[in-house]
Amino acid sequence: MTQTRVSAPQFFSLLYLSVLSSIFMYISSPEITVSETDSLLRPLIFIVISIIAGIPTFLIYKEINKSESLKKTLTEIKFFKVIAAFYGAVYFIGIIRTAARFDLFASSELFPGTEMTLFIIALIVVCALLSLLGLGALSRAGVIFVVIVVGATGFVMLSLLEEVDLLNFTPLFREGALNFIWDSVLFAVQASEIGAIALVLPEIKGNVTKNYILWSVFSGLSFIVVLFFVVGTLGVFADTQLFPTYTAVTLAKFGLLERMDALETAIWILCVVEKIAFYFLVISKSFKIVFKKVSKRLICIVSAVLVSIVLAFISSNLERFSFISYTPVVLAMYIVPVIVLPLATVIYLKKVKPCEKNSETD
């Protein structure tokens, strides 16, 4: 039997890898330029937004913990079934987005010109199977992976130090403060995994709030370090590249080791696997609330099949990929699970539920 309860640091290791995959496979867009010094400050806004955005999620549990009977009957309430269905749907799209981005990365940088659909489907199957091991196994693997990822990325970044040109940096807020704030918001909404905390919180032991803040700070600082090397080594060239972080890594050399990108790519795959497996776990948990009699295994299999079908449809056409990277879609992917669903739940618990209780007692 796999142990399911995890410590807060273990869980946030998993979440850290998940959010790191976003910066490793960060795609330049006309809306947000990577090459400006402003991009080094955006993670600071990310930290602030993430901490604030976490508040509704933590409020849910504050409300639930007030009533023992509510804890037991929570999954029976229709409202929560609807909320859970929304969570499932959002993270279903989250898997598609992550896998499609990885597909684009793999077919552009790892095996250019190669049809990667089968490889991506295999990845989806692996992640779905991994999710069945539970949050405990994923989080504990996350701790080991964090050591590997941070160690290897740190080594690669240090070997890039010689290539950093300070003239590649630009004056701050060149495009205006308002643009900077909007770009920072678009940058911060990459971390939609924050919303998933609500579904797994009962399984996490320890001081979650403290670890959540630490996670936000470390993630933000990691982004700053990575972006420092991207801007410092590439300059404006970063904006011409589909995956600027990868391009920066290709410049790294250490003695006879000249292809550090191979090392870094292997590590990035770890992050992607952890992220997708975690999302599958969230989907299975969500739909288990909706369809109580259906097993998690079946939910995972069905989700994996559906994701594979959608990916096969998206993979061959860049326009279809563009749709899921469209700014309103990206914003919705963050706002719905991180703000709307937790807030709706809190309001329900605060306003509707006491009324129901009162009417029952009357």
Binding site: S108, E109, F111, P112, G113, T114, L167, N168, F169, T170, P171, R174, T233, L234, G235, V236, F237, T240, Q241, T247, T250, L251
Partner: protein, 388 residues
Amino acid sequence: MKKTVKPIKLLVLCVLMVCLFSSCEKAGTELSDLMIIQGIGIDTAPGGYRVTVEILNNEQSGSPGGDSSSDNKTKIYNAEGESVGAALMQLTTKSGNKPFYAHNRVIILGEEAANRDLADIIDFFERNYDSRASELLCIAKDGKAEDVIRAKLLNDTVKSKILEKMLEQSYKESLVPRMRIIDAVNAIKDETTYVCMPAVTVHKNGENENFVLDGCAVFDKDETFSMYLSSGDAEGLAFLNDEIKKGFISARLQNGQTATFIINEGKTHYKIVKENGVLHYKLTVDVSCDLEEVGGAEYFSTEEGFMEEIKGAAGQAIAKKMENTLIVLQSEHGGDVIRYGRRLSLKDNKLYKSVKDDWKKVFSECRTSVDINVTLRRIGEETFHNKK
């Protein structure tokens, strides 16, 4: 039962690894089926471009027991097309193999090709999946890139590798600037920076030929070739552009003898002020060097002020190099290859914005004053007390 399942799982995984992870780029692609490009020369052709590539002769070098003496290490192919990309694709029809750019070392532009739009030429390398952003660019001075690729060097070796080493080493010796795809794109996209790339020529050396790095080429802001800087003039670029790595300085002493110094490290600091409507760049260059040789036996004494004299001579030599380079750069065909505009944007963006549209003129009129601080780190194995 469990004991047997584990080895079976491992066996299955091993078989999968052998089948899936044992190929180059595409499953089933043999090394000998790839056209592993080492250097690309780009010249003009009627209606487009002519590319000449040096590729590894991997049938010879890759086959077990291959005899390296019987065949050349590389082969040369050329092809023409409407664009650089189209010309490179045409290579397949001549070799039967698919071009593979991941190991390309240098891109050489013929002078005529350089006179066309540089941004147009390098777009292929910017966009191509295999092509690396760190590939080096240079120009074939007064000639064609094909002549450089086809040069008959003394040894049977990979010519592009030799050229790559020359370009890298000369950059490390602060003799010529480095121009990678990244640098070229950054300079092109910058509003005030001009592209400057090393120039190479092929010299006859008896029966054979050899490469010589001969200064560098300056491109205009419309990405067409503008002028050459001689080797001597190019030597001041590293000091002006804060790209001092290693290198050497020869300085004339008061008694007419020469002292040679090896540069260990250097740093240029900038202060920019606007004086009487003209930009004034106040440069402070800190150089740490070792004395390598000094002429004039009578100077080998404990004479006071001798150290100051040789340091001063080294400083003057550096200042002279910088001055010569600046004169050429500020001339009619010159341009801001030393990123003065970029530095101004970081120091005073408001002032930069007010002058950037007329930068060529502003740059040609700006003043530069130089203060050199030389630190003598070592004097070699010979003492100053050694009377000859």
